[in-house]
């Protein structure tokens, strides 16, 4: 019996010791699941969040905002300003064991440029990818593109052989609901491989044995149970009961409670995402208002009146529970083009606003329908509800229609809303991204999220000119000029930048990333 006890003791000691150095499992809860596993099918935050664990881009953006060499080791512009040269990392393997090389890069970029790809808008400046040798590629762009590396941080690398063998060379047509092998299966170079996946319920990932980053990164998490818990109170309850280790979408009202709970902590940080109101400034007449024959939003004075009537501080305090930073711009301080002067929230002045509205010819205000999502941004419905009384005191009667994001976004994209709430993040950290999606006239690949019908041909030309301007100071001056015009026009009413709160067990430390995309490979387990 003695030897048996000894053996058990030794075993126990080994397990304890192993526990001290080895990785731990984690259950990670979010409001919504990734829409698909096809890496080029959807340019959506929660989708990227899961994708970044399984697949990898050439260049990664760290939570500090810095660019980090990942599958590409270096990137430089060659003597030809339209050609970028990138050296690739050697010895990288996909989950199926295939080696990663230049052919995979050329294949993946071409795939991401396909018509059904949602990533094509970001990298549309790429003309073609040329393989120089197995670990060197040239990116030929349509014109000089100084910010190409910033645009590649969400373009994932796939295995050419695997894609061809599994008949998944074409990107999933998400709108037509035509799926392919890559929607439910994955083969990336990332730190975690997919063990099982049940859409909208649970995805199980495990640390990939052949990962190139072993020894270079903490890799403190061994298995990930990525679960979807839609209801705020259920998600928090799961964390409090210990069932979940990490909640990425922490409801603002419960932060204090979790902070006060033993064994739990909350990491706070600013997100690269601004929340704002948009309105139809381009139509001759609005359908949902009570003004006949003209569009009140077309009058700049009306927009400016609304801008100074909104009490952003009040929203921060009551609705956001201090988890927001009131803003005067629709981009955050991370983004190139932001200035503190423009980004300062305008002073609240209901009297002046009322006078401006009277001057514009609406002394008694008007009525309008306001569309709002209720499951996309932090306290989104609460923000809209708080805005309505502020407008009411101005005389503007806003009828609030609050709906799920599955209904809200199509409403905007189909041009059916004349007054709405939207949030916008800038993954390239450059104003051009916001300009081309939100301000450029809606045509071709431009303006797909510009539901304001704002159209300024002169400005459009200047926005398009940005992508080929290589002289950085000149380009920055052009960006500043465009902002000057837009801020004066007040096409959007900026509200605030979101702050993010990640809640987790005390032995974990997941830093808040401005993109709200977590890279679990950088997380160490302390136990």
């Amino acid at each position: 019996m003695a030897w048996k006890a000894k053996a058990v003791a030794t075993l126990a000691a080994t397990v304890l010791l192993a526990g001290a150095v080895q990785a731990r499992p984690i259950t990670w809860a979010r409001t919504g699941d990734a829409l698909t596993l096809d890496p080029h099918s959807q340019n959506e935050g929660p989708t990227h969040n899961l994708m970044q664990q399984i697949y990898e881009p050439l260049i990664l953006r760290e939570y500090t905002g810095k660019l980090l060499p990942t599958l590409a080791l270096s990137w430089t512009v060659t003597s030809d300003p339209t050609v970028w040269e990138m050296k690739l990392r050697q010895g990288v393997r996909f989950h199926n064991g295939n080696p990663f090389n230049a052919d995979d890069v050329a294949f993946s970029i071409e795939r991401a440029l396909q018509p059904t790809s949602d990533m094509k808008g970001i990298i549309s400046s790429i003309d073609k990818v040329i393989k120089v040798d197995d670990y060197t590629v040239h990116f030929k762009t349509k014109g000089p593109n100084p910010i190409l590396p910033d645009q590649l941080t969400n373009i994932y690398m796939m295995d050419k052989e695997w894609s061809e063998a599994n008949n998944t060379v074409t990107v999933e047509d998400y709108k037509a609901k035509k799926d392919n092998f890559a929607v439910r299966n994955a083969n990336g170079t990332g730190p975690y491989s997919v063990v099982s996946r049940e859409q909208d319920v649970k995805t199980v990932l495990k640390l990939f044995d052949g990962y190139w980053g072993k020894g270079q990164m903490p890799l403190g998490i061994e298995t990930i149970n990525y679960v979807t818990i839609k209801k705020d109170e259920t998600r928090v309850a799961a964390l409090l009961s210990g069932e979940v280790d990490f909640v990425q979408d922490m409801p603002v009202q419960d932060i204090e409670r979790v902070q006060k709970t033993q064994g739990l902590k909350v990491n706070l940080g600013q997100e690269n995402r601004s929340i704002f109101l948009g309105m139809d400034v381009g139509s001759a007449d609005l359908k949902s208002d009570d003004v006949q024959g003209k569009n009140p939003f077309a009058d700049k004075r009306v927009r400016q009146a609304i801008n100074i009537a909104i009490d952003r501080e009040g929203i921060r305090r009551a609705v956001m529970r201090n988890q927001s930073k009131p803003s005067g711009m629709i981009i955050g301080p991370f983004v190139n083009g932001y200035t503190e002067a423009l980004g300062k929230a305008p002073a609240v002045s209901p009297d002046k606003a009322k006078a401006m509205l009277t001057e514009a010819g609406y002394p008694n205000g008007f009525s309008i329908t306001l569309h709002c999502p209720n499951d996309r941004y932090v306290s989104d419905e609460g923000i809209c509800q708080a805005v309505v009384p502020m407008l009411a005191r101005l005389g503007i009667k806003a009828n609030l229609v609050s709906q799920s994001k599955a209904k809200h976004f199509p409403t905007l994209q189909n041009g059916e809303s004349e007054f709405y709430l939207l949030g916008w993040g800038v993954p390239t950290y450059d104003s051009e991204y916001a300009f081309s999606f939100l301000h450029h006239t809606r045509t071709g690949r431009f303006g797909s999220w510009n539901s304001t019908r704002y159209s300024n041909p002169d400005l459009d030309k200047r926005i398009e000119g940005l992508s080929s301007e290589v002289d950085i100071p000149k380009r920055n001056a052009a960006i500043a000029d465009i902002w000057k015009v837009l801020q004066d026009e007040t096409i959007y009413i900026p509200l605030h930048d979101q702050l993010l709160a990640y809640a987790m067990k005390a032995d974990l430390d997941v830093p808040v990333s401005p993109d709200n995309v977590v890279h679990m490979k950088f997380v160490a387990a302390k136990k």
Partner: protein, 328 residues
């Protein structure tokens, strides 16, 4: 019924001033006092308490614009600075907000009054719709039998596979396509009533059909058929009173269910606007604030709904027993 008019005229002639109409009413009241319904009502204190409670709640709801201390639908009066105040007796509470305020600075007490009005109207209308459809189809299926029965019940089975939310979204979509742009308040109200009503009729139809199958072979129905009474009359005058019991019980339970369904639909953007909260919406929003300690946001509306459901349920039970011909 013919002799009903007589006694008051004979025994208690109106002394000049009184018209014969009031005399009739007075007599009817006397008859009502003698009826089983009234006797069973005053016999049970519980039922009386439930009736008083229901009357109070309904009264408070429909007199809300007159008696509520604040008007939560008057958006101009809402101030964010008033948000999240606890009830008056708690630390930090204010006397002008007796039961505290919600996340938008609305007075909970006033919002409950206004919200109960919205919830009750939608709940009652949708339950009435469901009962009307379910009762008629159930009677018809049970009485006619054969192919009609099979057809109606298969439709009911199909309907049963659609959850209320799906039905509501369907109706919302169709309504939007037909009317292009419905006026917000009125349109939304009827869509809600239709959606909830249409998704709950099956329960009534199934129950009624089951009882009807049993009743239609009994002697009294056969007798009625023999003397040539029309089927519709047999169904509604002879069978109906015998199937009302379970229907009333179901209806009272479904009233509370309908109120909660309305809240779910509002979340999806099909229901009422969040700027005009119903009882269900208040509970749903309040749920979010339970962990943060703002218990009053869900406790008071929840209590109101629970009281309403219990009171209406008790009344339903009593009505079932009082009206059931088998218990006489």
């Amino acid at each position: 019924m013919n002799d009903a008019r007589l006694p008051s005229d004979v025994h208690d002639p109106a002394p000049g001033k009184e018209t014969s109409a009031t005399g009739i009413w007075r007599h009817r009241l006397a008859l009502f006092r003698d009826s089983d319904l009234w006797q069973s009502f005053i016999a049970s204190r519980l039922v009386m308490a439930a009736a008083i409670l229901t009357a109070l709640l309904i009264g408070a709801a429909f007199l809300a614009p007159v008696i509520a201390p604040h008007d939560p639908y008057d958006l101009k009066s809402l101030e964010l600075i008033d948000a999240d105040k606890p009830p008056a007796w708690e630390e930090g509470g204010e006397a002008r907000f007796l039961l505290g305020t919600d996340d938008q600075g609305r007075d909970i007490l006033s919002t409950i009054m206004y919200g109960t009005r919205a919830s009750l109207t939608i709940g009652l209308c949708s339950v009435l719709l469901a009962v009307a459809i379910g009762l008629s189809l159930g009677l018809w299926a049970g009485y006619a039998g054969g192919r009609i029965d099979a057809a109606i019940m298969r439709v009911a089975d199909v309907q049963l596979t659609f959850p209320a939310i799906l039905t509501a979204l369907l109706i919302d979509g169709v309504a939007l396509a037909i009317f292009k742009r419905y006026t917000l308040e009125g349109g939304k109200f009827w869509i809600l009533v239709m959606a909830i009503g249409l998704s709950y009729w099956v329960q009534y139809a199934r129950t009624v059909r089951g009882v009807t199958l049993v009743e239609r072979d009994k002697e009294y129905v056969q007798a009625a058929r023999l003397i040539g009474i029309r089927p519709v009359k047999i169904m509604f005058q002879h069978i109906l009173p015998n199937v009302m019991g379970p229907v009333l019980v179901l209806a009272t339970i479904n009233l509370a269910l309908a109120i909660i369904t309305e809240a779910t639909l509002s979340f999806l953007g099909v229901g009422l606007s969040p700027t005009e909260p119903s009882l269900g919406t208040m509970i749903q929003v309040g749920n979010k604030y339970l962990f943060s300690g703002s218990w009053w946001m869900v406790a008071f509306p929840g209590l109101t709904l629970a009281l309403l459901a219990v009171a209406v349920n008790l009344l339903g039970d009593w009505l079932r027993d009082a009206l059931n011909p088998k218990l006489r």
